[in-house]
Amino acid sequence: MAGPDDDHDDGLVLTPEQRRRRRARNIAIAVILLVVVGLFYAMTLVRFAPQPH
């Protein structure tokens, strides 16, 4: 049974260097997504905080 990381499925065989680069790109996307989630969280807190009169 082929795993999600099995590159033989579509006929592509990645070299170790290509795998390393793809992994680095995936990690960067994950970090950016986490930052975006954090920004939305912070924005929500500020937007919904009671405003001083």
Binding site: L12, L14, Q18, R21, R22, A24, R25, A28, V36, L39, F40, A42, M43, L45, V46, R47
Partner: protein, 316 residues
């Protein structure tokens, strides 16, 4: 029709390349954002945000600034996607990620579009939709009006296209106040009139590059002498403009003096470019003006930040 055909060709090239595994590293995507241009955008937008009379919560202000920076980066990525053919034949740009083969055109296009959309939505939610609309207009103006249209068709490309680079402080001002005012328009004008002498000083030295690439920069189309004359004219408008924030009363005398002294230095260098026309000394004068113009804009906006934003020198 030519534009539609060009776009179709570029999209087809992107799809063809997408069949290959991407060789891109994370740093290549960072390079697509044009970090050098981005840093100037961040700085001028920061000044716009700080000197604006409105109040924006610091967290929202930081998110607004990040959105403007990412929007500028998206413009850079879209610019590199469209201009990959030009970049490949110019010494200054041939090592950019797409002409060097490290990033596929389709990747750059997707990257730019995602960042553009995300940055506009984020700015709208963090600040207001006027600022978001201005950011969307800026990205559209730079990527479509300047990159896809003006750059290859007119010697006035960087004059009109310079509006995109001049908008960030106005966007930040709108983020803080919810409006655009004469004061923020002056900040726009300062950068707008700074752009032609800045770019033409470089273009005088690199005109061979632009000629090879078929880009109708002023030195290629009208020759170096006319370019020098235009540099001097725009410098004569730009240098006094620096003092206008003081004349309008939104910056103190300390800023006015700084802008006046820096403006005189700028005019001296522009005059040297106008007068010295041959050989290595001419190239040196041009590069001196190019380098000083960056410092000059930084000094003006730093002086605004210190005197208006932080309140130093307001008793003068």
């Amino acid at each position: 029709m030519a534009f539609v055909s060009e776009t179709t060709t570029r999209l087809a090239l992107g799809r063809a390349a997408a069949a290959e595994p991407s060789p891109a590293e994370v740093k290549d995507f960072a390079a697509l954002l044009k970090p050098g241009v981005m840093s100037l955008v961040i700085f001028t937008a920061l000044v716009g945000l700080v000197v604006a009379p409105g109040h924006l919560h610091p967290v929202l202000g930081a998110i607004a600034l990040l959105s403007i920076a990412v929007g500028a980066g998206a413009s850079g990525a879209l610019n590199m996607w469209w201009d990959a053919d030009i970049d490949a034949v110019m010494s200054r740009t041939k090592d950019r990620p797409i002409p060097a083969g490290r990033v596929q055109p389709g990747e750059a296009l997707t990257f730019g579009l995602v960042l553009a959309t995300g940055s506009v939505i984020m700015l709208g939610l963090a600040a207001n939709w006027l600022a978001a609309g201005l950011l969307a207009f800026t990205i559209f103006f730079y990527a479509v009006i300047y990159t896809m249209w003006l750059k290859r068709t007119t010697a006035q490309n960087i004059v009109i296209g310079g509006a995109a680079g001049a908008l960030p402080p106005m966007i930040a001002w709108a983020a803080a106040t919810g409006t655009v005012s004469l004061d923020s328009f002056v900040l726009f004008l300062i950068i707008f009139f700074w752009t032609p002498p800045h770019f033409w000083a470089l273009a005088l030295v690199k005109s061979g590059d632009y000629e090879r690439a078929g880009v109708p920069m002023l030195p290629v189309v009208a020759g170096p002498d006319e370019t020098r004359r235009q540099i001097l004219i725009y410098s004569l408008i730009y240098a006094p403009l620096g003092v206008v924030p003081w004349l309008l009363g939104f910056a103190p005398l300390a800023y006015g003096v700084t802008a006046a002294v820096a403006g005189v230095a700028f005019l001296v260098l522009a005059w040297r470019v106008f007068r010295i026309r041959d050989g290595a000394p001419a190239a040196k004068a041009s590069m001196q003006l190019f380098a000083f113009s960056i410092l000059h804009l930084f000094v003006l906006f730093a002086a605004l930040l210190v005197t208006v934003g932080l309140g130093f020198g307001t008793t003068l």
